[in-house]
């Protein structure tokens, strides 16, 4: 219990530090959340926010392939895991703020929406509302999904030590 509490505090401190000291780290977090989020969930939260911001599309939405690389065990040498389709888009709000959106698959509308949300997150007056109403909820959904998947795969884990003859 105590351990979990400390972890939460540490995470909170960590988040405060990142948002104050390194804006690009904070931005990485929400662009990542938007990239991994479900399109329908994003659209639903966006509709609930009820915004109609004027913006110009600077680039895209355009589709392409990116090579996903991984490291065995997180520490080994980098290897190419495979290619995935990605849609990206860049928009500029009437005020000049620029947002980038990268999402997986061929989903131009989703990429444009993610870019628009990123642009709004650049605005000091808007970022807290957008963070609380879109990024936060999407992050919660993602954490739940991750937890449930880890839980399911943990249930199928085979512990080879139990296979040693016990007699």
């Amino acid at each position: 219990m105590a351990d979990k509490g400390d972890g939460q505090v540490a995470a909170q401190v960590d988040r405060e530090l990142t948002s104050k000291e390194a804006p690009e780290v904070a931005r990485k977090r929400w662009i990542g959340v938007l990239a991994r989020a479900d399109q329908d969930a994003t659209e639903e939260l966006w509709a609930a926010l009820g915004r109609t911001d004027a913006y110009t599309v600077i680039r895209g939405p355009e589709q392409g392939l990116v090579m996903v690389r991984g490291r065995a065990g997180g520490t080994g040498r980098a290897f190419n895991l495979g290619e995935m389709t990605v849609t990206r888009c860049t928009v500029r709000l009437a005020g000049g703020a620029v947002g980038h959106g990268y999402v997986c698959g061929r989903r131009p509308e989703h990429a444009e929406r993610a870019a628009l949300i990123d642009a709004l997150m650049q605005l000091e007056d808007e970022c807290q509302v957008v963070d609380a109403q879109i990024i936060g909820p999407l992050e919660t959904v993602e954490e739940k999904r991750r937890a449930s998947r880890s839980c399911k795969s943990a249930a199928t884990k085979v512990d080879f030590f139990t296979m040693v003859r016990s007699e």
């Binding site: 110009t56 680039r59 860049t90 500029r92 000049g96 650049q122």
Partner: protein, 200 residues
């Protein structure tokens, strides 16, 4: 425009596929008929001092495999950022590495020997120079002849003086090696491939 300390972004082609195709068609026409003036539209917003026509040429021809060299006033963060953002092409300082060299005017032209002319086995590995020529039909008249020209054609553009044409003729004499040149006007382009002979 924005109070942010980061790079300013400008939109590229509104309809990337068709606008790039139309520009490519114009470039083909200009290259295959040296000295002829072919109309080209540019994207509506570009960072100064890049001209819309030059931006159009860059967005059509450049990609991640074509290093870009920028000369003179074009060597700015705004222009380099714009080209990198829209074309993914690397912007290089060393002109011998560049596949495309962009010049704001003829007087900024470096020694042609500093740009790659291709090799005997691969003459296509040469650089293409894109020059903002101001306007066509003003300046020193020269006669062009060679492939793509029935007899000869009279050509001139702002700033193209006798020394420039001497360099251009020397470039022609290295054929099949050499550089190809694209001139950008306010709303049109003209081309001078290495195969074209120049007479004052």
């Amino acid at each position: 425009m924005s109070g942010l300390a980061q790079q300013e972004y400008f939109a590229g082609f509104g309809d990337p596929v068709h606008e790039a195709q139309a520009c490519f068609r114009s470039l083909m026409e200009a290259m295959s008929r040296p000295g002829s003036i072919v109309e080209v539209d540019g994207p509506c917003e570009v960072p100064a001092p890049l001209s819309p026509v030059m931006a159009s040429v860059a967005l059509t021809l450049c990609d991640y495999e074509t290093p870009i060299g920028l000369v003179g006033e074009l060597r700015s963060d705004a222009v380099a950022g714009y080209l990198r953002f829209h074309t993914s092409a690397p912007v290089v300082d060393d002109l011998t590495e560049a596949a495309f060299v962009f010049l704001p005017n003829v007087s900024a032209l470096p020694d042609l020997g500093t740009m790659r002319p291709g090799t005997a086995s691969y003459p296509d590995k040469s650089a293409t120079i894109v020059i903002d020529a101001g306007s066509f039909g003003t300046g020193l008249d020269v006669d062009l002849s060679g492939p793509g020209i029935e007899t000869h054609v009279c050509f001139s553009a702002t700033g193209l003086d006798a020394p420039f044409w001497r360099h251009a003729q020397a470039n022609h004499e290295r054929y099949p090696l050499g550089l190809d040149i694209i001139f950008c006007g306010p709303n049109a382009i003209a081309a001078l491939p290495r195969s074209t002979k120049i007479e004052a």
